[in-house]
């Protein structure tokens, strides 16, 4: 079966050990997590893990169920790119002396990048976008001599009108009241 890039959104309680509880479900199958972002979400007290991973759909569906089985995990969702809006951010550090001798303005404009800091020795650019866009800028800056580069994991919102976990939480609170 063909592998593709999946995005998994995991909503959890804000506790220690959650990262371990989630990552062990991947490592058990020797699945390599491609990227990982953890932050608060729009619901107070709920944390959101956004994980990307190359695998097959049956494998990912089962991983999601086993993640969800963990007591402190509220809900997990398997998403494909068509269901989400997503971005990554990247930082590029290049020597300032090589920047001044190129058409850097054109590069920055064309790629929608911005300059974060200019230091006598180095200049740092920032670019937000999809992986391929970030790597395109990387290719343009490479001849200048990239000294440092970092790309974040995905941040994702879904094309649904609310957080995907809302319905589940409402159901649970109703059960509590009953």
């Amino acid at each position: 079966m063909e592998e593709q890039l999946f995005t998994i959104s995991v909503f959890t309680e804000n506790r220690v050990t959650l990262l371990h509880q989630i990552s062990m479900i991947f490592s058990r199958r020797c699945l390599n997590i491609d990227s990982l972002t953890v932050s608060a979400c729009s619901i107070e007290g709920v944390h959101k893990f956004t994980i990307t991973c190359y695998s097959t759909r049956p494998m990912m569906e089962h991983v999601v169920k086993q993640i969800e089985k963990r007591i402190d995990v509220i809900k997990a969702f398997l998403l494909t790119d068509s269901e989400i809006l997503f971005q990554e951010v990247a930082l590029y550090k290049v020597p300032t002396e090589s920047v001044v001798n190129t058409d850097i303005e054109d590069i920055v404009r064309r790629h929608g990048a911005r300059v974060l800091e200019i230091h006598p020795e180095y200049t740092v650019f920032e670019k937000t976008g999809h992986t391929d866009e970030i790597m395109e800028l990387y290719a343009h800056l490479k001849p200048l001599g990239i000294r440092q580069f970092v790309r974040s994991g995905r941040v994702v919102v879904t094309r649904s009108s609310r957080e995907l976990v809302d319905e589940f939480l409402e159901k649970r609170m109703k059960k509590l009241q009953d």
Binding site: T12, Q21, K69, K75, R172
Partner: protein
Amino acid sequence: MEEMITGSEILIRSLADNGADCMFGYPGGQIMPVYDKIYNNLYGVRHYLARHEQGAIHAAEGYARATGKTGVVVTTSGPGAMNLLTGLADALMDSTPIVAISGQVGCSMLGKDAFQESDVISSVLPVTKWALQVRRAEDIAPAISRAFFIANSGRPGPVVIDLARDAQIGTAAYEKQEAPFIRSYDSDPEPEEGAIEEAARLLNAAERPLVLAGHGIMISGAEKALAELVEKAGLPVGCTMLGLSGIPSDHPQYVGMLGMHGNLGPNINTNRADVILAVGMRFDDRVTGDVRKYAPDAKIIHIDIDASEFDKMIKCDLHVHSDAKKALEALLPLAERKDRKAWRASFDKHRKIEEERVMARELACNAPDGKMLMGGVVRKVCEAFGNDAIVVTDVGQNQMFAVKYSRFNKSRSLISSGGLGTMGYGLPAAIGAKIGEPERPVVLFCGDGGLQMTIEELGMIMEYGVDVKIVLLNNNFLGNVRQWQHLFFSGRYSSTPMVNPDFRMLAGAYGIGAADVADASQLDAAIGEMKAHKGAFLLNVNIDETDMVFPMTPGGNGVDEILLNESEYYKPV
């Protein structure tokens, strides 16, 4: 002002308030404040001193499996906690409710490689349902309440509370806890709308339906609902190994055990059924054989409380996400009354062949040199106890013969390590079962290999006078591995012959009654002696090492591709 008590006392009080009447454990440096309270015998929670932490947790498992209550284990930090890992993994696989309390070094020493420090939470997460480190006395009561709730609700499992020294020696007021509400955890899911109706429709339309009953029957207390449903709708029912005793062995609709060493009828007819109703079972690979050849003609309905089991091994046609009891009770009024006599009778044909071709030899129990066969010994022992004993097994051939040749009248009568297949489980689990159910006879069937893995727990029998009847099926071999070596490794018996101690003398050293049964002619009298003996007894039975477990579905075969003996496949008519 409210009385301030230490965290250690809060712990014991919390255990009592959550229904614990005993715990199994082993003291050590970082749990001493708790043991200081155990010394006072507070709140009616008795403590049983195991001889090894692994023994303690298997005893707690046996207690939990026999009673349905949560088994409690207490250990020290570091090595004490690490010795729990096998038992935790076992309990997770077999859905056994356990709360394990491990001592931990003081908070200021965490992460500094302190003496007997280990990263307990990280180590146990993959083998527990939930785990939490508690660092303050005031957090103990809520943590214990949550631990018991999680361990023994939904699909039960083991929980670890790692209790830092600060929490044990700190003080707080004790507050009795309400039953916790955990928003992220729905312990009692409702079946999807229409799922029960659809299940009834499939069942009612079936001509060759088969029920596969698992451990979930007993965990949810669905024994009565299962019996009523299969009687009303004329459904044949087979049990997984852990599902055995969920329905009496002599129930007219019961057709045998499923799986690699199961009975011919239910395995053959799995692949002839047109509808399968799988209840509280998880299509373990030992049940299914090659999944690509499994139940090709059947619509499969899967009832389970654990949604992660759906479509994991076998793609099913209908999922009912609920505990077994709730689902079966809802299904009962919708099921049409049918007798399905011809289909039910088709199982008997296979049973008869199995009785003649496989079981008759075992039950005759005669091998060269007066040696005995395991199946016959098991049947005689069980009958001596009126088929009312709690049967505990170790792992291996002893286990397969014990589960196949025992008969069960009552629920929760088989305690065996299923998913993990943990050798050494049997002796401590039998001790825990007897402590949990003191009125019921407890019989342990074990091999010479498994018994020696946790034989130190004879000490617990001696100290507490636990009346466990130990039937040692002794072939001086690791018999199951030997069987596989014989069948699949050209009879090269690598590291499977065992040089054994004198087990009768060993039992004697612990003050336990014992008898050697060297010859088949002595067996009946020896069983009688064991039964009449007040207190624990070890029967050391001289088993023929060439005895092998059949029928057998070798790995990679379909569920209906079954060996009757080492060279002949069963060819059903």
